[in-house]
């Protein structure tokens, strides 16, 4: 009997270990489950200084191209953020005043908190053998600007001046493949983590800098932060380190935490906040504040 209990005691940790392994790994069926539905906004390409609202409202062809792309997303059961209503909402904001035109795109993306931007552009070509239309579709991730899909589509040559008809024809030739390529990149996100950007900076009265020794090993603060990001991401890229700033332009974060819950930018930001608040430089305990815009997290040491 004693031997039986000893054997059971010996086997118990193995059982616990086996449980941990099975819960921390995603099964293929779980991998196929959607955890988050990224927000997507389709908007027209516009040059610096152009009035984006006028561009869409005065040009029906632009609206046709945008609608055709949105229709393709709808056919996959996906709803996009309405660009025009976002612009109208922004009109009350200073961002649409003429002297701040260059910042309009950023303002719209940030105000909509959209994860993925799809830019559409068209070009009407007249020719002796008929007219045709070219559409350029570009999708990118808003925080890290990682390219997701790029396609150029051409309509058939027709003896027609009806640009919207040609636009519809041109979009239809490539939009399904455009979405398929995007889905391939989404599969990469499932495998290698979603994109985030991190910016650590200092308040003017913080009294520390990125070279100050912090943490248990008394390493420079920038290195302590890099080590934490390295341990809590699938991969990352540092854009630069100065005494005042550490910029991670790409951080690939798992889409799920250990409990299988969606790891959003706010929840990831909270983990960073907890870690930074646990740090100390000498006898001074560090305090931080965070700001999250879409998938970009700004952390300031107070």
């Amino acid at each position: 009997m004693k031997q039986f209990f000893l054997l059971m005691t010996g086997l118990l940790p193995l059982g616990v270990f086996a449980q941990q392994v099975t819960t921390s790994k995603e099964t293929p069926a779980e991998t196929r489950q959607l955890v988050t539905r990224p927000t997507i906004m389709v908007f027209p390409f516009f040059k610096e200084g152009e009035d984006i609202r006028k561009l869409v409202e005065s040009d029906v062809n632009n609206r046709v191209v945008i609608t055709k792309v949105k229709e393709a997303f709808d056919s996959r059961g996906y709803s996009t953020v309405d660009f025009l209503s976002k612009v109208r909402n922004l009109q009350t904001n200073d961002a649409l005043t003429s002297d701040k035109q260059t910042d309009v795109k950023t303002a719209i993306i940030q105000s909509s908190n959209t994860d993925i931007c799809v830019e559409v552009e068209y070009d009407f070509e007249k020719g002796s053998s008929g007219n045709r239309l070219k559409v350029i579709l570009t999708a990118y991730e808003s925080s890290a600007s990682a390219s997701l899909a790029n396609k150029i589509g051409f309509s058939r040559r027709m003896y027609s001046e009806d640009v919207s008809k040609l636009a519809s024809d041109a979009v239809e030739t490539v939009v399904a493949d455009f979405l398929n390529v995007m889905q391939e990149k989404f599969n990469d996100i499932v495998e290698n983590g979603k994109y985030m950007a991190l910016e650590f900076n200092l308040n003017s009265d913080s009294g520390v800098n990125m070279s100050s020794e912090a943490g248990k090993d008394n390493l420079p603060l920038s290195d302590v932060l890099e080590e934490w990001v390295g341990n809590n991401s699938k991969s990352y890229h540092i854009q630069g380190v100065t005494d005042a700033k550490v910029l991670f332009d790409v951080v690939r974060v798992p889409r799920m935490d250990a409990q299988g819950k969606s790891l959003t930018s706010t929840r990831y930001g909270l983990e960073i906040l907890k870690f930074c608040n646990s740090l100390a430089v000498g006898s001074k305990k560090l305090k931080v504040e965070r700001l999250i815009k879409g998938n970009t997290i700004y952390v300031s040491f107070k």
């Binding site: 196929r32 239809e172 889905q183």
Partner: protein, 159 residues
């Protein structure tokens, strides 16, 4: 010496018999689109009976869409790239799924077949017992994709 010659003849006969059983490769090509969300493709099926040949051709058509894609989807006027990429990114992750096995074994795929036309009624010999026949197969692609999404064979749009 006599035994060696007989042995060689038997070996050659066995090799020839082995070659004869090699099935002809299945030819798959894009034929066109009648309406958006559907496609028509030419597929060569093989088997010993008509029903087997039809089943083989249809399974090949769906497997092509799932695992390979149709890179030659080019019509006379414009290039159609809708089916260029396979629906499934990694065949190994889904191949053993009981749902997919049943989908093909129980011929559930027939719900998405809009057309099955024999392109040639002359059966070509593939081996001693097997023949091949080319078919034009129409598939309701959008419905098929949605069905695969609902049954978690492929991911819904998103991550």
């Amino acid at each position: 010496m006599k035994n060696v010659i007989i042995g060689c003849i038997l070996l050659a006969a066995a090799m020839l018999a082995g070659c004869a059983r090699t099935p002809v490769s299945n030819q798959i090509a894009y034929l066109g689109q009648d309406t958006r969300g559907t496609l028509k493709m030419r597929v060569t099926g093989f088997g010993s009976k008509q029903i087997e040949i039809e089943h083989n051709a249809q399974v090949k058509a769906f497997e092509q869409l799932l695992y390979v894609g149709l890179p030659d989807a080019t019509s006379a006027e414009i290039k159609n790239t809708d089916f260029r990429l396979p629906m499934v990114e990694n065949k190994a992750t889904v191949q053993g799924m009981p749902f997919l096995r049943n989908f093909f074994e129980n011929k559930d795929y027939r719900r998405f077949v809009t057309e099955l036309t024999m392109l040639d009624d002359k059966k070509l010999r593939a081996s001693n017992s097997e023949r091949t026949l080319p078919f034009a197969i129409g598939i309701n692609y959008d419905a098929f994709r949605r069905f695969m999404e609902q049954n978690q064979v492929i991911r819904k749009f998103g991550y």
